[in-house]
Symmetry: C2
Subunit: 186 residues, 2 copies
Amino acid sequence: MSSEGRGLRADAVRNRRLALEAATALLAESGAPLTVEAIATRAGLGAGTVVRAFGGKGALIDAAVSGLLGPMVERGRDLLGQGRPLDALRAFLAELIAFQSAHHGVNDHLGGLDLPETARLRAELEAVVRELVVRARAEGSIRADLDPGLATTLIGETAFAVARAASPGLAEAYLAVMIDGLRPPV
Amino acid sequence: MSSEGRGLRADAVRNRRLALEAATALLAESGAPLTVEAIATRAGLGAGTVVRAFGGKGALIDAAVSGLLGPMVERGRDLLGQGRPLDALRAFLAELIAFQSAHHGVNDHLGGLDLPETARLRAELEAVVRELVVRARAEGSIRADLDPGLATTLIGETAFAVARAASPGLAEAYLAVMIDGLRPPV
C-alpha cells in the first residue's frame, strides 16, 4: 500500500474513534438527542464523515451502545459464579440501575434503528438475570409460586422504571423491597 | 332567549358530549393518537367545532381524562375506610394497574398540554396511595425502614411500569412481590 493509502486508513480509524467517543459521551447525557449531527458536532467532524466512518448511523449507534453494554454483560457473568444467587442478583440489579440512570440514551432515541449487537447484548443481560433467578429459586431463596420467566420480566420492567425515575434513595428502597418480596413468604 | 338561541345552545351541548365521548374512547385505545383531528373524526364533527365546544384542545382532553380519573379517586377514598390498610393498598393498586393498562392514552400523548383538573386528580390518587402507606406503616404492616414518601414513589413508578408492560400474569406477580416486600422483614 502507498503512504497515501496508509494515511487515508489512519484518518478513517481516527474518525471512527472520534465518532464513537462522541456517541458514547452523548449516550451518557440525559435527554441529549442522538442524531448524526449531534455526534458530528461533538466529534468535530462533518456529518458525512461520521456516517462514512461506520457505514451508517445505525452501525455507529450499535457500536457505541454495545461498547457500553459489553462490560455489563461481563460483570453479570462474573456474578453468576460468585456467592449466593439472590445476593448476586441484588448486586447485579444495583449496578444495572446505576448504569441505566447514568445512560438514559441507551434506551431513549434508539427507536427505528437496526442495532443487532445491542439487541444481542440486551438479550444476554436478561439471560443473566433469568439465570440468577433460576438458581436462587432452585436453592429455595426465591418463592416457588413465581414463574422464573415472569419474575425476570417483573425485575426488568420495574428496575428500568426505577432507573429512569432517578429519584434520590429510590434504587436502595426498590432493592430492599424487591429482594425481600422475591423471598418465599413466611 | 329565542328558540334559535336555545337551538344553538342545544347544539353546543350535543357537540360537547360527542367530542367528550370520542376523546374518552380514544384514550382507551393503546397507541391511538389523541389529536383534535382524531377526536373530530370519531365524533363525526368538524375539527373547528370540537375545539370551539371546549374552548381548546387542552380543555377537551382535561375533561375526558378527569372524567376517567374521577371514579378512581372516589374508589381510593372508599378503600381508605375499608379493612386493613395494606389489604386496601393491594386492592387499590390492582385496580389502578388494570385501569392504566386499559387506558394507555391517559399518560401517553398528553405532553405539553395544560390539564389542571387531570393534574389535581393525579395528585389525589398519589395522596390516597400515600395515606394507605402511612396507615399501614403506623399499624406495623409496612417496614419501618422505608420512608412513606419514598415508598409512595416506588409504588407509583413500578405499578405504572407494570401497567404499561401489560404482560400476562405480570400484575399479579408484581402485587405478590411488592406487598410482601413492603412488609417488615422477619
